[in-house]
Amino acid sequence: MDIERIRKDFPVLSRTVRDKRLVYLDNAATTQKPSVVIDAIADLYRRYNANVHRGVYLLAEESTQAYEDSREAVRRFINAAGTQEIVFTRNASEALNLIAYTWGEANIKAGDEIIVSIMEHHSNYVPWFRLAQRKGAVIKIVPSRKDGLLDMDAYRSMLSDKTKLVGIVHMSNVFGTINPVREIVSLAHRHGAVTVVDGAQSAPHMKVDVQDIGCDFFALSGHKMLGPTGIGALYAKKSHLESMEPFLSGGEMILRVTLDSVVYNELPWKFEAGTPNYEGAIGLKAAIEYLERTGMDAIESYERELTVYALEQMKTVPGIYIYGPLDAAHKGGIVAFNIKGVHSHDIGTILDSEGIAVRAGHHCAQPLMIDCGVSAMARASFYFYNTRQEIDLLVQALKKAKEIFGHVA
């Protein structure tokens, strides 16, 4: 991959921050946008903006086509069987909530068991926690092992005929761990449980094939994969969507309304009430096409090299502790860490003064923070536009942070 050429596609990467060139290493929070995405959105508003699925005029036909083309792009990107299985949402969180409030509401009963892992982002924990509270169901947590991988033995032992749903993060937003979702799904199915894969971190960085994984539901977030904010998608097997009640109600999700009856729209529009974020979908399509041109396999292998290098170099910082797997074979480009005697917020500020953007805090994964015995971590997360040179700058700045705070016992 020609990284210098790729970097030119991202206007923000050439800006300076506090008189230093921006080093953007917070890609697990959100990614930067290539010009093609920015232009696709501007092009909609300059040339053919009209509400989708409503008008009979040419502009409306064009915008509707663009919106539905985006659905096809998402389908192709994750290899779903059909576009009926792709529902646009605001983000991965909304996709996961949709499942909890429709499938979950109808199918989870008192005493049922829901299995999730300790690595879940709040968005794949809180909806299940609340569902369990409403229904009197039981949540079981699969722990992680010392090496940062999921404890599959514990998972196997938790599965039973009481298990109704298994929710699992594909790639941890803290540890970077890539979980063996195919095996997790197949084990769950043996017990008749439905499976939900949170793909917010995986879809941007590796080839995803939902039919190969075999999951019932898969959630992704547009802005973490070069797309705009406010657009995400839910993949769901058609058989589930057919039997599920709508989530939100209003325009778009209906075929016919009289004062005493409502006929719901066909799939997938039954789950898309109100004017959808077609601007976001159009931007997401441009993002997907950009990723496809770059090649998901090439992205994955370049990011793996970068992660190997980052782990090697970061280890040389005195007092550093890296959380999660240290073997890049099992993780994506996410490195969470702490430095003895330097709080992660202070690390964040010191790196910012060098133009380096990282995340500091609990990463919306407080149960995992508690499990690690800390309240906060710093996190560097990479995308394919990052370079080894940027990792060198990160490591230099981390050493400087350690110097500022001296050597603390």
């Binding site: 005697g341 917020h345 309240s375």
Partner: protein, 140 residues
């Protein structure tokens, strides 16, 4: 903007060796608070002698700014009357908001003046006064 401005020696000193850290046996007022976004935590315990703060101790967990601020502010108000404490708190909040302030009154707390240049960190420096304010409201 240089890091030395923000992470002054006195701030790092109070972070690594905080003053007034611990508990009081029978406090007249207690209060705690946190910044949910970043996880900084501060709890304060106070003993009054009439209208005066006879003793104040804190416990906490978090970054150098939040913890050194707790150390510095407890130092600043120990032995002061409620009114004097309120004045110090107002001056301190004003300093963090970028307004003019009475440096003499703030003393060592002035070390935190450059936090105002880092908007994301103002909450860290403000947590202690918010917790202190809650505690003072318990004083009838």
């Amino acid at each position: 903007m240089s890091l030395e401005e923000l992470f002054k020696e006195i701030i790092i000193e109070h972070y690594q060796h905080p003053k007034n850290q611990g508990h009081i046996d029978h406090p007249d007022a207690t209060s705690d608070g946190s910044n949910p976004l970043c996880g900084d935590e501060i709890a304060m315990e106070l003993v009054f002698d009439g209208n005066r703060i006879k003793n104040v101790m804190f416990t906490g967990n978090g970054c150098s700014i939040s913890q050194s601020a707790a150390s510095l502010i407890t130092e600043a108000i120990k032995g002061k009357t409620i009114e004097e404490t309120r004045t110090i708190m107002d001056e301190y909040k004003g300093m963090l908001a970028g307004r003019e302030y009475n440096a003499e009154l703030l003393g060592d707390l002035e070390a935190l003046s450059d936090v105002k240049k880092y908007p994301a960190r103002v909450k860290c420096a403000s947590l202690s006064v918010a917790v202190l304010d809650q505690a003072l409201q318990q004083k009838k």
